[in-house]
Every structure is written in C-alpha cells, then in structure tokens.
C-alpha cells in the first residue's frame, strides 16, 4: 500500500500550499483530490487576498479589522499570525509567478474590500483564486518527484491506529472504482467547506462537507458551526457569486425606491461594511417590501458609474456572469442580487498549526476553524487563511513526520468501506432518491438557518434533518457500475452533508444571542456576558454533544461594532 509522510486530502489552495510546504521540508507527500486539482472550489474565489503590504499600512490594522469583522469571536492569537505573515505570503506568491495586477509604478495594486480600514486587497482581475490555484498547480507539476498526486480519488474514511492516532485514509480511485488504503504518518484535511448543505449556494457542487464530517466521525470537535456566511451579492437567478470586488470598485446597492439604503445601516462604510451587516440590511429591505424584481426578492447592484474600461479589465468575470447567467450587461444596467449562502466560518477545530485534537490529523482552509473568522469572515481573508494555515499545517506535519516511524495499518476498514459502497449500490428503488433528499435539505437550511433565525424555525430544521438522516439510510441510486460511478459518491456525500447540517442547526439553536452571521430574531442582541465563547460540537456516542471553548484575546477587547 502507498505510504507518505504527509497525506493531504483536497487540492485547493490550502491543500496545494500544504503539499508544497511539506515537500520543501523534505517530506514524502501525497495529495488526494476527488476532482482534478484545478477544479477545486478555490478557483471561484474572485476578489483578492488581503495583506498589509502598503508601506502606510500595518498588519495590526488588518488584524483589528479582522477581529471586528469576526464580531470579537475570532481567536486573536491566530488572527495575529495570519495578518502578520500575510505580506510575506503574498510576496512568495508573486515570486512563484502569480500575475498580480500592478499600479503604474509596477508595484502590486491594491483594491478596497468590505470591512477593511484601507485598501489592502491584492488581486488578479476578478480571477484571483483561479490565478493562485493554477500557479500552485504549476509548482506541483514542477515538484512532481516529491509530491504524488492522486487526482480524482475520493476519500471514504480516515484511519486511526490502536493509539487513536490518524494513520491514513481509505480512498476510491474514481476512474477505476478501486478502493485502497493510503497509509500516512500525518493526514491534513484541506477539503473545503460545506456550501452544498444549502440551496441555493455560491459554492460548487463538490463542496459537500466531506472533511468536516470525516473529522467529526473520527472524534475531532467542530467549532463555530452556527456561523454560516451569506454573501450580499449573489445572483437571484441561480445563486452564483458576484464578487465583493464590484463594491470595492465603487458599485452601490439600491432598493425598489432607488435608495442607497446602506446609509441607514452602515453610514460610514456603506456598501463596504462587513458581509453579515450588508446581507442583513438587504434582507431587511426585502422583508419590508422594498425589494426589486417580479417577486420583490432582490436588490439592485449598480456598477454603471465605474468606467467601462476599468470594469472590463478588473471585473471581467462578473461581466461575463451577468451576460451569460442573467442576460444583463452590468456595465450598462444594474443587476439583481440578494444574499446567498457562501462560506462556513466553522469547521474542524484546530490550533494555529492546523493540528486537531486527533493526533496526526490536521486541517486547514475552509474545512478548519482556527478560528480566524469567528462570527463573520471578511472578504479576501479566505484565500489568506487557506495559504497561511495550509503552509503552517504542511510544515508542522512534516516536522512531526521526521521524528516518527511509518505506522502499521490493517485493512479491516478497507473491507468495511467496500461493503458500505456495495450496500448503497444494491439498494432497491423503494426509498427516496439521493437527489431528492439533497434538495429538501438545501431548501430547508436556506429557509430556516439563514440570515435571520429563530428558535421555532431552527427546531423545524432540526426535525427535518433528523428525518432526512433516517431516509438517507435507504436512499437509492441508479448507477451500478465501478468506472466513474458519480452516483454512489453522491450518496456518500449526502451523509457528509447531513452530518454538517446537524452540527450547524444544533449550534445555531444553542447560541442564544446575535453575533456575526448568527442573528436570532428572538435574541436580537449580542450578549458578551454569556456567549463570548465558541460552541464545540463533538460526536458523543451516536449523536452530537455540545461543549465550549474560550475565545483567545491578545490586544483587543470587545466593543460595540459599527460600520
């Protein structure tokens, strides 16, 4: 069986960065991805990456903005690490070839972004994630002798040895259907978020919470799961993302009365307040009858005042999205948007080196919760999170690998997982379709666990999720084959999504206050006295149990949050 010092699950930005860091530290590295690495969802990150690289800027200002953006739930030691290491990381990306946009002096250009006290977002048009992802993949091709790539391999379980240490994974080669044990001294989860738990979502179809659920099942606690970000500008049509870079370039939000309503909610930062604030403002306008469109469920995003040439150069992708998916030329007319599920701040609880509470298991990127985003992530901090903590996890895992022997692994779990897949394929067509359960889950979450939440709705969602978990046990598929059986993978992903949904709803019910992305209409105030703490969800016997962890403070005490 293949064996690696460091085995990485997921090949988006966090995974590829971890692989390169571990390889550079001398480890033998394997990187597993259920899709080809450049298809990873990091590719969709549009607007840019934050770093205090302007000589007039200071990483502490970036850190404070991040703390405030998190509604004081972010752990400040981790935030300090992320923001202070950001400039060096961006320069490293530039050195390996990322084509960052320049100013007229040939230096990195910076654009404005939400919740930031100055321009500090480096960018490549509005394809920043794609540009960085493809450049990292160039580096993986360059270092092919140190990094083995398992492209289109799907992980079914994490393996633990008798001492409770993570020692590899079971994975299926999607193309051949062959199942294998991949042995490792360390496993780094970098498999992204869980956006598909919601419908609609800006997230790609592959973003199904795999790593979050795998870690949870392996005994690692999840943290901040109630904190689900709704992005303020997603297409009413189908939930696709319109980058915050649009507002960074000057676009405004208008209600049905043509009013720039952000004046009422965030008089200083206006459209560039943090995402939770802008999304709530939009939702309030819609609920109070000032939405636009036939169903009055949208808001206009108007970018027509930005010079057309600048829009075409710096926001080309959303010009295309407007044209191709909404039939709107955004350089000439406003486009209808609304808040839509975009990001999950919560994830597998880690320390600042990406280590989870399971020895040998790391997590980095959206799958993880360090927590640098707390209650709300700032735009252009997610790319930074993936790269900083991906690198740190890679380095730390490599150091750990250097001082240990390759673990012994039995193939008992392999037989269990083969049997699990055989059982799914053999199910009679008597229950519900996997696709039907997935749809009901997404719609339920989007209805009850969204921008505004209350006890009654959350209880309803909890009931639905519990029923769907039962129904999923007999949910059937059509594909009986072994080659590229996407259907059977969909059934396994459904299980991952349901675990994530269960944790999200439970944490949202537990947090009886409003902070960051969690707004409870029945508890509309932030309550620092009782709730300035993280909620942890861990597997306890057959079901989830609730715990708490303190928030780490360094320099900044909680204060009233205004934009």
């Amino acid at each position: 069986m293949p064996a690696h010092d460091v085995l990485i699950i997921g090949a988006g930005l966090a995974g590829q960065r971890a692989a390169l860091a571990a390889a550079e530290a001398g480890s033998s590295v394997g990187i597993v991805s259920k899709v080809h690495p450049v298809r990873s969802h990091s590719v969709a990150a549009a607007g840019g990456i934050n770093a205090a690289i302007n000589v007039a800027d200071d990483w502490k200002s970036h850190a404070y903005d991040t703390v405030k953006g998190s509604d004081f739930l972010g752990d400040q030691d981790a935030i300090e690490i992320m923001c202070s290491e950001a400039p060096r990381e961006v320069m490293h990306l530039e050195h390996i070839g990322v084509t960052f946009h320049r100013n007229d002096d040939g230096e990195l250009d910076l654009r404005a972004f939400g919740g930031a006290s100055m321009k500090r977002t480096a960018y490549v048009a509005d394809i920043t994630g794609q540009a960085i992802l493809h450049v990292l993949y160039e580096q993986l091709m360059k270092h092919h002798e140190q990094v083995d790539r398992y492209e289109e391999w799907f992980v079914t379980s994490l393996l633990k040895d008798d001492g409770g240490r993570c020692c590899g994974v079971i994975a299926r080669d999607v193309r051949s259907g062959r199942m294998e044990v991949l042995k490792a001294k360390n496993v780094i989860l970098a498999s992204g978020g869980a956006g598909q738990v919601y419908s609609p979502t800006t997230n790609a179809l592959i973003v199904t919470g795999d790593g979050i659920a795998q870690a949870y099942r392996a005994g690692a606690p999840l943290m901040d799961m109630e904190m689900v970000q709704y992005h303020p500008t997603t297409l009413v049509e189908n939930g696709l993302l319109i980058t915050e870079g649009a507002r960074g370039e000057g676009a405004v939000l208008l209600n049905s009365e043509g009013e720039r309503f952000m004046e009422k909610y965030a008089p200083n930062k206006m459209e560039l307040a943090s995402r939770d604030v802008v999304s709530r403002a939009e939702q309030t306008e819609i609920l109070e009858g000032r939405g636009v469109g036939a169903n009055k469920d949208g808001i206009y995003l108007d970018i027509t005042m930005v010079p057309r040439k600048r829009t075409l150069e710096a926001l080309r992708e959303i010009v295309n999205i407007g044209k191709d998916f909404a039939g709107v030329d955004i350089t000439r007319e406003p486009i209808m948007i609304r808040p839509g599920q975009h990001y999950i701040m919560g994830g597998v609880k880690t320390d600042v080196n990406g280590a989870t509470s399971v020895e040998g298991l790391y997590a980095a990127g959206e799958v993880a919760c360090v927590s640098v985003h707390g209650g709300n992530r700032l735009g252009a901090n997610s790319l930074l999170d993936t790269l900083i903590f991906g690198r740190r996890a890679g380095e730390h895992a490599a150091a750990r690998a250097a001082s240990m022997a390759m673990p012994q692994v039995s193939d008992a779990q392999l037989h269990d997982d083969v049997a699990m897949i055989d059982e799914i394929i053999a199910r009679p067509h008597t229950g519900r379709r996997v696709s039907a359960i997935k749809r009901e889950l997404g719609e339920t979450m989007n209805q009850y666990v969204a921008v505004y939440r209350d006890e009654e709705g959350l209880q309803t969602a909890q009931g639905v999720v519990a029923r769907l978990q039962e129904e999923a046990k007999s949910a059937y598929i059509d594909d009986k084959g072994t080659v590229f059986n996407q259907d059977v993978l969909g059934a396994i992903e459904l299980g991952y999504m349901l675990d994530c949904a269960e944790a999200i709803v439970l944490a949202a019910i537990e947090r009886k206050e409003s902070r960051g992305a969690q707004f409870r209409t029945d508890f509309p105030e932030r309550n620092d006295e009782d709730w300035l703490k993280h909620i942890d969800i861990s597997l306890n016997g057959d079901g989830p149990g609730i715990g708490y962890s303190p928030v780490t403070f360094t320099q900044w005490r909680p204060e009233e949050r205004k934009y």
């Binding site: 899709v35 450049v38 298809r39 990873s40 969802h41 590719v43 969709a44 690289i53 530039e94 050195h95 390996i96 070839g97 084509t99 960052f100 946009h101 100013n103 040939g106 230096e107 250009d109 048009a125 394809i127 794609q130 540009a131 493809h134 450049v135 160039e138 091709m141 360059k142 492209e151 193309r175 790609a204 179809l205 592959i206 189908n238 696709l240 993302l241 010079p307 057309r308 040439k309 150069e313 080309r316 999205i321 191709d324 998916f325 909404a326 039939g327 007319e333 406003p334 209808m336 379709r433 996997v434 696709s435 039907a436 594909d479 009986k480 084959g481 080659v483 590229f484 059986n485 259907d487």
Partner: protein, 362 residues
C-alpha cells in the same frame, strides 16, 4: 433593467452514452427536461440526472464557467455545458433535440467524461509549465509593467477545460501537436517579464516539429474558447517573439516563411504565390529561387503547380509575374506597413488589454 425571464419550457436532451463495462458500443440516450430557456445545458443534464437517471456521467462543479470541468460538444461544437443556454442550444440543434457528446481528440472514459490526462495535461507538461526564476528573489515584489501582467492574465484566464483541444484540426491530423491550450500556457511564461528563459523556451518550441509551427491557423480554438483566451492568437505571438525578437531560425522554416509572406505582400500588395516557396527556403529575395534548397522545394511542388494551371486556378502569367493591384491600393498597403514599422515597439493588438470598444462619449 434586468430582463424578465420566460417561464419554464420542455427541452429534449440527446446525450452520448458509453459504458466501458458493458462491452457495448456508445449509444444515444434521450431525456426531456423542463427549465427556463436561459438556464444552461448543464442544469438540464443535472435535472435529468437527478430525476431520471443518476448514472449519466459528466464532470461538473462550479456551474459558473470557472472550474473548467464540463467541457463537451453541444450539437457538434465544443464548449462548456454550464455556459450554453438551453434555448441557444436548441436553436442550433438539427432536429430540435440538443445533442451532447464527449469532447474530441481525447479518449472517452464514460459517457461525456474524457481522459484529459492522456492528452491535455500531458501536453501542458510538455511546455515546462512553471515560472523559471531561480536567482535570488527581491525583498518585495518584482517591479513589472501594469500592461505586462494584464497581458499574461489573458492566458492565465484559461480554465483548462479542453474545448480548444477537442476541435484542434492540426491535432486531429498530428496527435503529437503540442496544441492550443498548452501553447497558450507557454505564452503565459514567454510573455512573463519575470521568466528567465524566454529564448530557451522559444527555441524548444520552435525546434519541435510538433511545436510552434505545427498550428495551421484554422481559428477553431479561438471559436471554442469560453474564456476569450484566444489560443491561436497566443501561438502567433509566440511566433512573432521567436522570429522578430529572438531571431530563432526554426527547422520548420516557419520564421523564413513568415518573412517571405510579409515582404511579398509589402512589395506587390497581394501574395505572390510562386515566389513564396523559394523565398521561404532559399532566402527572402528575388535571388532566393536559385538557392539549392529552394530548387528542391520548387521541383517537388511542380505537380501541384501544373495541376493548378490545368484546373485554371492560376495562370502562367500570374505564376511568373505575380498579381497586380491598382496603384492607390498598393499605396494604401504600403502606408499600413509604414505606420506599423514606424512604431518603436511591435504593435500587439490585444483586445483583452485594450477593452472591447472605445469609451462611451461622456
């Protein structure tokens, strides 16, 4: 304001299915789905998958034309399924049913899923696809011009979907051709002022008989690309840098051929076909035809020339003396040359940099 969309309609999807485990040949499979007409072909396929048959195989992920997974052929034309509207696809269908097939030039694994590793990624790896910059790095960023980064961002915008590879005619004839996607990727480094091996890269690609000069200029890749990467344009730019800047004389004779072409049009306003070959091989002047290499080429192309005369595609007079165009037209052609040649730097028309049209009048 945003247009109001039409209500859902029924669409017939006819998908090419292939199950490698069945031992059966590929076949067509039809499903009728119902969606608003501006929804994508991919959404149609996903509906068919969710409601009728989960075994339909297609790679897909982002739904927004950025991940590059869902490259297919729709009614025979390559593109992304997520980037093609159902009503547009129906309009180009031959009998009302939207036909979706796997891309060409790559082996099919299952249904609409092709083996991109065996072709596309292998070719990408051929062009040394990483920045070569081994010296000590600056403390901060490299200082490079704004335009240079926007310029290579066009090739950086390639999502590696394979649509251009699918219908590359040169690759169909010569499967070893490096091809449009990989050569566009090569431009991303050749055009990058931070890369230290521009000349070595261009020498490598010019010397390879299946490299830079194997492209036949058919424009298929330009039409196929969903991201305006313009692969053929990038190949032509590689050629110009190789020939004009690096003076690379390639074994494919591409650079001399291009020089001969440019000189002939400059001198007579139209191409003088009979002079092109000797000048390409014997040197770019009237005396070129007396060079032994030119003589050999001329001799070998005699049968074609004779056939051309026999079929009245050309006359002996034109073959000997070339075309004549009116003087004012010739002057106009010379003016274009003068204008372009007077520029201190080569003029590269790049719509990606300059934008689609001029600023609107204020």
């Amino acid at each position: 304001m945003a247009e109001t969309h039409k209500p859902p309609e029924k669409f017939t999807l006819r998908m090419r299915r292939y199950d490698p485990e069945s031992g059966q040949a590929p076949y067509w499979d039809e499903h009728t789905i119902e969606l608003e007409p501006h929804r994508s072909v991919l959404e149609g396929i996903l509906q068919a998958k969710a409601e009728f048959d989960g075994s339909i195989g297609i790679r897909c992920s982002c739904r927004a034309a950025i991940c590059g997974s869902c490259g297919v052929r729709i009614n025979g034309e390559p593109g992304l399924a997520c980037h093609t509207h159902l009503d547009h696809a129906r309009a180009s269908a031959k009998d009302g049913a939207i036909e979706v097939e796997p891309m060409g030039n790559m082996p099919v694994i299952k249904d609409m899923i092709v083996d991109m590793d065996a072709v596309h990624w292998k070719k990408v790896q051929r062009v040394t696809p990483w920045l070569i910059n081994e010296g000590p790095q600056p403390e901060r960023e490299h200082i490079v011009s704004r335009e240079s980064m926007v310029d290579i961002t066009q090739t950086m915008a390639c999502i590696q979907c394979g649509a251009c590879v699918s219908d590359c005619l040169a690759m169909e004839v010569d499967p070893g051709f490096i091809g449009p996607a990989a050569l566009a990727k090569a431009y991303r480094f050749v055009g990058d002022p931070r890369d230290e091996e521009q000349r070595e890269r261009l020498l490598d690609l010019s010397e390879d008989p299946q490299g830079l000069y194997d492209c036949t200029h058919c424009f298929k890749c330009v039409e196929a690309c969903p991201k305006d990467v313009n692969p053929m344009g990038q190949i032509m730019r590689l050629r110009r840098i190789a020939g004009n800047d690096q003076h690379i004389v390639d074994r494919n004779n591409g650079e001399r051929h291009e020089q001969a072409f440019v000189t002939l049009v400059k001198d007579s306003g139209l191409l003088h076909e009979a002079e092109l070959l000797p000048r390409s091989y014997g040197g770019n002047s009237w005396f070129g035809k007396f060079h032994p290499a030119a003589g050999k080429e001329l001799l070998s192309s005699l049968p074609v020339a004779i056939r051309g005369v026999m079929k009245r595609k050309m006359s002996i007079k034109i073959a000997l003396f070339g075309h004549k165009i009116p003087k004012q037209d010739l002057d106009a052609v010379k003016k274009i040359y003068a204008k372009i040649e007077s520029k201190p730097e080569r003029y590269e028309l790049n719509l990606y940099v300059s934008g689609e049209d001029e600023e609107e009048a204020a």
